[in-house]
Symmetry: C2
Subunit: 336 residues, 2 copies
C-alpha cells in the first residue's frame, strides 16, 4: 500500500469554458480506515456532463462543488482494507469517491457489484447512473409505443447509446444525432439505430430539420435530449402531435453558448410535453432499470463503447474533451 495518494480538487470556478487551471492535482496522505470504514482503491473514475454544472454556483438542484475539495464523481474500485463487516477485502464496490486514487467509506452509498458477467467499468456506464438515466427518460417520459419514432441526441454517448438501444428493443424506430461520421457509423452499425444525423453537417435549425425529416419521414414521437440548441429545435420542427421530449441534458450550452429554443409554437400546435429530469430524484426506477440493463449487458444485447484516459492527471483534459464531444462513448479515467 502506498503511503500517499493523488486527488484532483476544484481550484477555481470556470468563468467561460472549463480550463485545466480550474483543477489542481494534490498528493495527500493515505488515511487509515476507522472502525466501520473501508479503504477502497479506485480502478475507474466516471466523467459525466453533470459535473460541469457543479463547478459553478448557480440555481440548481445540487450544491456546487466546493473549492479546494476533491471533485465529485462516481467510481468503481476494490476494497483494500475493511473494518466494516459488510465488506471484505477484494470486494468490487461502486461508490462516489470522487476524482481520487483512494477513498474511505463507512459503507453508506457503497454497493457491491458482481463482475463475473459484467465488466467493472460498465457499472459506471450502461449498468450504472447513465444507463438508469436513459431507462428513466425513455420509459417514464418518452413512453414510446412500438412503431413510434424516437430521436436520441448524443447517441453514441453513455446515456444516448442506451436510450436508443432500449427504444429499438421496444420495437421503435430509433434515430440518433451524433458528431462526425465515425460516431454516426457506430450508432447505426454497432448500436443498431435505424439512422443517425451528423450534427456537424447540420449546424442551423433549417438544415437539421431537413436532415431529421429525411430519416424520420413519419415524424418524431419521442425525443431523448442530451444536447439542446439546434438538435432540439430541429426535433421540435418534426414532432408528431402529443410527442414527448425528455430533457436529460443540454450539453451544447454547458460551456456558455446560448441555446434558446426557437420553435416554441410547436409546443401548442403539436401539444407537446417537455420534461426535464434528474435520475437521482427517481430512486424507485433504479432497481428495475439496473436489472434490465445488467441482463442486457451480460447477454450482449446492449452494446457500449468506452473512452478511457489513463491516470488522474489526464482527467481534466478528458473532461474538457467530453464537453466538446471528443470522447467516443462513456468517458472513464483508469486509475488502477
Amino acid at each position: 500500500m502506498t503511503a500517499t495518494y493523488q486527488r484532483m480538487v476544484l481550484a477555481s470556478r470556470p468563468t467561460g469554458a472549463v480550463t485545466p487551471d480550474n483543477f489542481r492535482l494534490e498528493t495527500v496522505p493515505l488515511p487509515e480506515p476507522a472502525d466501520g470504514q473501508v479503504l477502497i482503491r479506485v480502478h475507474y473514475l466516471s466523467l459525466d456532463p453533470y459535473m460541469r454544472g457543479r463547478m459553478v454556483e448557480s440555481r440548481s438542484y445540487a450544491q456546487p462543488q466546493k473549492i479546494d475539495e476533491t471533485m465529485i464523481g462516481g467510481t468503481v474500485g476494490v476494497v483494500e482494507v475493511s473494518r466494516n463487516p459488510k465488506f471484505a477485502v477484494g470486494d468490487t464496490v461502486l461508490g462516489t469517491l470522487g476524482w481520487a486514487e483512494y477513498g474511505i467509506s463507512d459503507g453508506r452509498g457503497l454497493m457491491k457489484v458482481d463482475t463475473r458477467t459484467i465488466p467493472m467499468s460498465a457499472y459506471l456506464g450502461t449498468v450504472g447512473m447513465p444507463g438508469v438515466t436513459a431507462w428513466y427518460g425513455l420509459n417514464r417520459i418518452c413512453q414510446p409505443k412500438a412503431g413510434e419514432t424516437v430521436l436520441v441526441s448524443a447517441a453514441s454517448g453513455a446515456v444516448g447509446s442506451v436510450a436508443g438501444q432500449l427504444a429499438k428493443l421496444q420495437g421503435c424506430r430509433a434515430i440518433g444525432i451524433a458528431g462526425g461520421p465515425d460516431k454516426c457509423r457506430y450508432v447505426t452499425e454497432e448500436l443498431g439505430f435505424d439512422a443517425c444525423v451528423d450534427h456537424r453537417e447540420h449546424t442551423d435549425i433549417r438544415s437539421m430539420t431537413r436532415a431529421l425529416k429525411a430519416v424520420a419521414p413519419n415524424g418524431i414521437d419521442g425525443v431523448f435530449e442530451n444536447v439542446g440548441g439546434v438538435c432540439l429545435d430541429g426535433a421540435l420542427a418534426c414532432m408528431n402531435p402529443f410527442g414527448r421530449i425528455a430533457i436529460c441534458g443540454l450539453i451544447a450550452g454547458y460551456e456558455g453558448t446560448a441555446i434558446p429554443i426557437h420553435n416554441v409554437f410547436a409546443l401548442v400546435a403539436m401539444r407537446l410535453k417537455i420534461e426535464g429530469f434528474i435520475v437521482s430524484d427517481h430512486l424507485d426506477a433504479w432497481p428495475p432499470a439496473l436489472a434490465e440493463l445488467g441482463q442486457g449487458v451480460a447477454s450482449g444485447r446492449l452494446k457500449y463503447r468506452e473512452s478511457v484516459a489513463h491516470g488522474l492527471a489526464a482527467a481534466p483534459e478528458a473532461f474538457i474533451g467530453m464537453l466538446a464531444g471528443r470522447n467516443f462513448g462513456k468517458q472513464l479515467v483508469k486509475l488502477a
Copy 2:
C-alpha cells in the same frame, strides 16, 4: 326577418400583422332552413386568439380558415325558425356559426343554454371554451396544491381570469401578469389575485424576473401561460423544483415577433414539465368543467369582464386590438 344578412369572410392571409384588408364584409341572401335545420340569429360572436393561427397556412392542429369563406368563430344566438324537433323558436343556443349575423344548423354542434342565471354572453367566455381551457390547463397540467403559487399571464383575459380565480378557490397564491395599471388593478381588486405584474413596465427578462420574484418570494409552482416571450422566461427563472407549465397560448408571438425561450437550463435544473394543450382534444373535461364554471358564475364567485364591439363591421378592428392587448376581458362582438 331580413331577406339578407351580413357575414365577414377571410379575404387574404396576413403576411405580417393582421390588417383590416384581410377581411371582407359581405351581404348575402338569408337561407331558408331545410327539413331538420334551424335558422339562428347570432347575438354574440366570440373573438379568440386561436383564430389568428387559422388565418395562415401552417403546420398546426387545425385546418386553416379557407379564403372567401365565413371566418370561423363561436357564437351564441336565438333560434328564429326551427324545422328540427329538438329546437324551438326562442331557444338560446351556443354554436360555431362564425362571423355572421345569421346561421343555419342541422343541430349538430349546437347546445341549448340556460340564460336564467347565466347571461348568454358568458357561454362564450367563463362558461364556455375559454373557461374550460382555463379549467383544463390549471387542473390537469398545473395541478396546483393548496399553498402553492400559480402564475397566470394575460390574467385579465377570458382564459387567464378564470385560471387565476380557480387557483385562488383551490387555496393557491395567484400571481397575474397583465398589460397596464388598469388591468393589473382589476386583476387584484376585482378578480382577487394576490398580485399582478404589469408587463409593460418589465419588457426584458431580467426586469420581469425581478418583478415576479418580488411578488412570488417562495417561487412559482405552476404557470398558466397565455403569452410567452418575456413572461415565460421570467417565470422559468422563478420556478420551484418540479414546477408545471401549461402552455395555452403564446400571443406575444402571434403577429410575427420571435419569442424564443432563453431560460432553457431551468428545465433540467428545476425538473420542470412544460405541456402545450388544446382544449378540444379533451372532451372528457368539458362536462365537469362547465358544471363548476356555471355554478361559479351563477353564484357570483367567478367574476369576469367583457369588451363588446358593436356590429360585424367592427369585428376586424376588435380582433386586431385583442391581439395587441387592447381588449379588457373577454372580447365579444354584439350582433343583435
